[in-house]
């Protein structure tokens, strides 16, 4: 296992001894098995590994969508394991953004309503800064003429872009994405990934993306490779060959 060189104080998210076990007794599944991980802010990190290695579970725990069995998680300076459900929910609403593989949008709301949903859930109005950012993000993502359509009327790529817009409109410091390109063709994938990267470069966000496509990982700065619920390696700006090697060892 390669350890990170980043200091704890400058991490966007960190986990210590993170364990997630499903079931108990002999039938127990250790989806995560004592993970120590620090993710640097302002970087695009890809989480890779074979199917069933615990990628989604790791992301769910880091994003406060699920409770770990053991260990601690600090995101953006907040210890998630100490938060109650309501505080955790508010934390997600105000500090995190999400892009999932599918079913990202509420089918009964238009694209615009979906984008501003977190703001609305917080009971806030779309203030001037948020409105400017909305225009900017929508413009960058090329959604301007699609805002009044419902998800059913949008292509898969457009739907993912709406989800990205939603993740970027708020003040989210970290955006979590679980296989955001899993359902897309290569052109649409490239589109979505480059937007994610732009949000890191131009908006200074931190993005954590789960993927098992090498092409997708190529857009990331860092790559974390999981195997059997453990971190096998944490690579910084790897070349494609390094990456292929890291993935191959366990295969």
């Amino acid at each position: 296992m390669t350890t990170t060189t980043h200091e704890t104080s400058t991490t966007a998210a960190s986990a210590r001894g993170l364990t997630k076990t499903y079931g108990d007794g002999p039938a127990a599944v250790h989806a995560l098995d004592g993970i120590d991980l620090d993710l640097a802010p302002g970087r695009f990190t890809a989480v890779m590994g074979p199917s069933g290695s615990g990628k989604s579970t790791l992301m769910h725990c880091l994003a406060g969508l699920d409770r770990p069995t053991d260990g601690s998680i600090v995101v953006d300076g907040t210890d998630l394991t100490r938060l109650g459900d309501d505080d955790l929910t508010r934390f997600r609403r105000d500090r995190l953004g999400f892009v999932f593989q599918a079913f990202n949008l509420l089918p009964m709301l238009t694209a615009r309503q979906n984008i501003v949903l977190p703001i609305e859930l917080a009971g806030r109005r779309l203030d001037a800064t948020a409105a400017t950012r909305l225009d900017q993000v929508v413009d960058v993502l090329g959604l301007a003429d699609r805002l009044d359509h419902r998800p059913g009327e949008l292509s898969g790529g457009q739907q993912q872009r709406v989800a990205i817009a939603r993740a970027l409109v708020g003040d989210a410091s970290i955006v979590f994405a679980d296989e955001p390109t899993g359902n897309l063709d290569s052109t649409a994938s490239a589109e979505v990934l480059s937007y994610l990267r732009r949000s890191v470069r131009e908006l200074g966000r931190t993005v954590v993306m789960v993927t098992h496509e090498l092409d997708a990982a190529a857009y990331a700065d860092d790559v974390v490779v999981l195997a059997d619920g453990r971190i096998r390696s944490h690579l910084h700006a790897p070349s494609t060959d390094e990456l292929v090697d890291a993935l191959k060892v366990g295969a």
Partner: protein, 812 residues
């Protein structure tokens, strides 16, 4: 397919809970009806059996015994030295001291022969002479009658005085408040003999039967068992009528259950479209899939009906035990469930479920294998089927409106019912158009309260048909409830104006000596009295009446009453009220000669139905011409709303006793009529409650199933920052919206139906019956429906909120 069937039954049992509960309630209701009816019959039969103790024969016709036959029977008994007991009763005015207990108190007979007496004396002793009376324990408590009190039965010269010597348990068959020996009762006009219970002294029953048959005209002479059997059949028919009426409510409940079940199946099958399509993909034929879901629904029907029958029987036994514990064992007998009712309830439950599942299951065969590969879209109103349905709905509503107008012009109840049902079906057909529009409107109104409501109203209109079907089930109950409330409010208005005419004076104190100012002040100061007016009059004597006060109420006195017109006499005429009519023995001369201090005046009479005690009423101008010296002979009292009739009667009775006045208390009769109306309304509402309960199960079900369906969306919302409480609120708001919309449509429809009912039925009897809008009650219906809708969603909402976001995201 067997494995698929069993696996899906196991996987989906939870989702069938609502359909299951709906069938169970409807079936259980039918069984409970039978249990209670059988127990009531058993109680009544026991009562009939107990009514003729120690007798050999009973002489009587189906509905009583004629005076001639009665006399002939009693004559024979006297001659032969046999013992008899006359079973009779009547509704008579009864007063105790100066207090009127009521103008229609039930008075029955009690035998002075201990063996033939049917009442159980609990306190005191049984009457031994004709001047003694037994009083029902409950009535004694309600009317404040004690042993030793003297009661006067009837009014005027034929009034009979009796002394209360004992109290008795209540009797379920031919029961009365006061029991006196027949010789006394027979002297009061208005009592009617029902039969003669006859014990043959020398044991020669056959011979006596022949002897009696020789002397009676119409009456049958039967042995006691034969007579009792006949009577039991007769009273049981009455109970049967009531049980069949209750079946009407069971039918309403079943109709609502059909809506709930059909909706449940539709939603379930929509959710399982992918499963079905996958089955088709792997080679199942359409028929195989259809058969599998049909068997599934049949299994549900059978199990739910069995549990309904068993649960209903249990509830029936439980309720009977409750009644026995609280109302006394003489009120109700043992439950004996009729096999045919049980079978009918079971078969009914199965058939209802089967019918309800028919359409949704048919849709299953139309699922193409391809549906597994693309997401299903919800059927909208804009689909061809939706347009046809809406068009049909409009046509039905238009046609039935014409029928309803026809019903009102023709005053025909059957036409009204047909038109009402047809228009309701029309509204149901229009549901997918009306309901979402209203949901949107209500949602927009409430939107400002936060994002929860916005999401909820967006959710509620997602599937117009589903929302329409869900609201339809509640709509049935709300429409019927508000129709009953509105109709009854208007009918009550009509009845009240009739009551005003019949009882223009709340309490009348009447006497034959001048009433002093002190007495008047005492009356006016009594608690609950809002107006007390002295009425001038003179004391006259007339043939057949003895001495009687003649009152000439002036404008002020009349204006203070509830119906001044009823107390207005045309100059030169005399008004004869029922109390005086009783003294005249029902025969009223066209003219009445009044003798006042030797001066005679003959006036034409007019018989009226209004009551103000025992006094004649003339125009003040006429009074002045009668001679004598007009003085205040009566005080007419009006009471505040909600005054307790007994308390006021007692207070005024005390004043009246001191001043030697008679009191006539109309408040009691009014309170009785009010109570009857209240009981009727509450009984109907209570029975409709069953349909409403089933509908609420339906709402909980729709929201519950939608929750399952939207697991992913909820997880997404939670991930994006919707707190648990907010999510619960979203779901509760959805239930609330559905309930409010059903309540609003139902209230509008119900009010319209109620008024149409008034126009068609009540207006034929009371032409100027008002159309009343019972705002408070209608408001209460909407609020109760809204709260119930909210409450129905508590469980599904809690379940949905418990799921962790990560778990929900991986749901399929």
């Amino acid at each position: 397919m067997r494995t698929v069937l069993i696996a899906s039954l196991r996987a989906h049992t939870r989702r069938y809970v609502a359909a299951f509960v709906a069938v169970t309630i409807a079936v259980g209701f039918v069984v409970v009806t039978n249990a209670l009816a059988s127990a009531t019959k058993a109680g009544l039969s026991q009562g009939v059996d107990d009514a003729y103790p120690a007798s050999d024969l009973v002489v009587g016709e189906r509905y009583g015994i004629s005076e001639h036959d009665l006399r002939a029977t009693l004559e024979t008994a006297r001659r032969e030295g046999d013992t008899t007991s006359v079973i009779a009763n009547g509704w008579l005015p009864v007063r105790s001291d100066d207090r009127t207990l009521g103008s229609e108190v039930t008075v029955g007979t009690v035998s002075t022969d201990d063996t033939m007496r049917r009442q159980d004396v609990t306190t005191g002793r049984a009457p031994r002479s004709d001047r003694e009376a037994l009083v029902d324990r409950g009535a004694a408590k309600a009317d404040g009658i004690a042993i030793g009190d003297v009661l006067t039965l009837g009014s005027g010269p034929q009034g009979q005085e009796v002394t209360v010597v004992g109290l008795a348990d209540s009797v379920s068959y031919l029961g009365a408040d006061v029991y006196v020996p027949w010789p006394t009762l027979s002297r009061v006009p208005g009592a009617q003999a029902d039969a003669v219970s006859y014990r043959v002294g020398d044991g020669a029953v056959g011979r006596r039967t022949a002897q009696l048959e020789d002397v009676v005209d119409d009456a049958q002479v039967r042995t006691r068992p034969a007579y009792v059997d006949d009577r039991v059949t007769m009273v049981n028919q009455g109970v049967d009528v009531i049980s069949y009426l209750l079946l009407l409510f069971a039918a309403i409940a079943a109709f609502v259950a059909v809506l709930v079940i059909a909706n449940t199946f539709t939603i379930l099958f929509a959710q399982r479209t992918r499963d079905f399509a996958l089955l088709r993909c792997v080679g199942a034929t359409g028929r195989q899939v259809l058969r599998s879901v049909r068997v599934e629904s049949f299994a549900l029907a059978v199990v739910a009906s069995v549990i309904g029958v068993v649960g209903g029987a249990g509830a029936g036994y439980g309720l009977t035990a409750l009644v026995r514990a609280f109302a006394g064992p003489e009120r109700i007998g043992a439950v004996s469930l009729s096999p045919s009712w049980l079978v009918a309830a079971f078969v009914g439950g199965v058939v209802v479920t089967w019918i309800a599942a028919w359409w949704p299951t048919r849709a299953v065969t139309r699922v193409s294998p391809l549906a597994a590969l693309r997401p299903a879209e919800s059927p909208g109103v804009r689909s061809r089927g939706g347009r046809v349905r809406a068009g049909l709905g409009l046509a039905v509503v238009a046609a039935s409106t014409a029928v309803l107008v026809g019903a009102v012009t023709a005053n025909s109840l059957p036409v009204l019912l047909v038109g009402g049902m047809a228009s309701f079906v029309g509204v149901l057909l229009l549901g997918p158009v009306i309901v979402p529009a209203l949901l949107r409107a209500v949602g927009r109104l409430l939107r400002r309260t936060g994002p929860s409501l916005r999401i909820a109203s967006a959710n509620a209109v997602r599937n117009p048909r589903r929302s329409a079907a869900t609201t339809a089930s509640l709509l049935v109950g709300v429409t019927l409830t508000t129709a009953v409330l509105t109709g009854m409010a208007s009918a009550r208005g009509a009845i009240e104006s009739q009551m005003d005419a019949q009882h223009p004076v709340d309490v009348a104190l009447t006497g034959e000596t001048s009433i002093g100012a002190a007495t008047l002040r005492q009356v006016a100061d009594t608690r609950g009295v809002t107006a007390a007016r002295a009425v001038n009059g003179v004391v006259a004597t007339a043939k057949g009446l003895g001495s009687v006060p003649v009152l000439g109420p002036d404008e002020t006195a009349r204006r203070s009453t509830l119906d001044p017109a009823a107390l207005h006499a045309v100059p030169g005429r005399v008004l004869v009220p029922p109390d005086v009519l009783g003294d005249l023995d029902g025969e009223v001369p066209d003219r009445l000669t009044l003798d006042v201090d030797g001066r005679r005046t003959t006036l034409p009479t007019r018989v009226v139905g209004s009551e103000w005690g025992r006094a004649l009423v003339v125009n003040p101008a006429t009074l002045r011409g009668l001679g004598g010296d007009p003085a205040p002979l009566a005080v007419w009292v009006q009471a505040a709303d909600g005054t307790d009739p007994d308390t006021l009667g007692g207070d005024l009775g005390a004043v009246a006793r001191d001043a030697d006045l008679d009191t006539t208390n109309a408040l009691k009769d009014r309170a009785y009529v009010d109570l009857q109306l209240d009981v009727l309304v509450y009984a109907v509402l209570g029975l409709l409650g069953i349909a409403v309960a089933i509908a609420l199960v339906g709402i909980a079900n729709t929201v519950g199933l939608s929750v399952l369906e939207r697991g992913r969306e909820h997880a997404l919302l939670r991930a994006l920052g919707l707190t648990r409480r907010q999510l619960r609120r979203v779901l509760a708001a959805e239930g609330l919206l559905l309930a409010v919309v059903a309540a609003v449509i139902g209230t509008v429809l119900g009010t319209a139906y109620g008024w149409l009912g008034v126009l068609t039925i009540v207006r034929t009897a009371v032409p100027d019956a008002p159309l009343v809008m019972p705002w408070t009650e209608l408001g209460a219906v909407v609020v109760v429906a809204a709260l119930a809708g909210l409450a129905a969603c508590v469980l599904p909402a809690r379940r949905a909120a418990r799921i962790a976001p990560a778990q929900g995201l991986t749901l399929d």
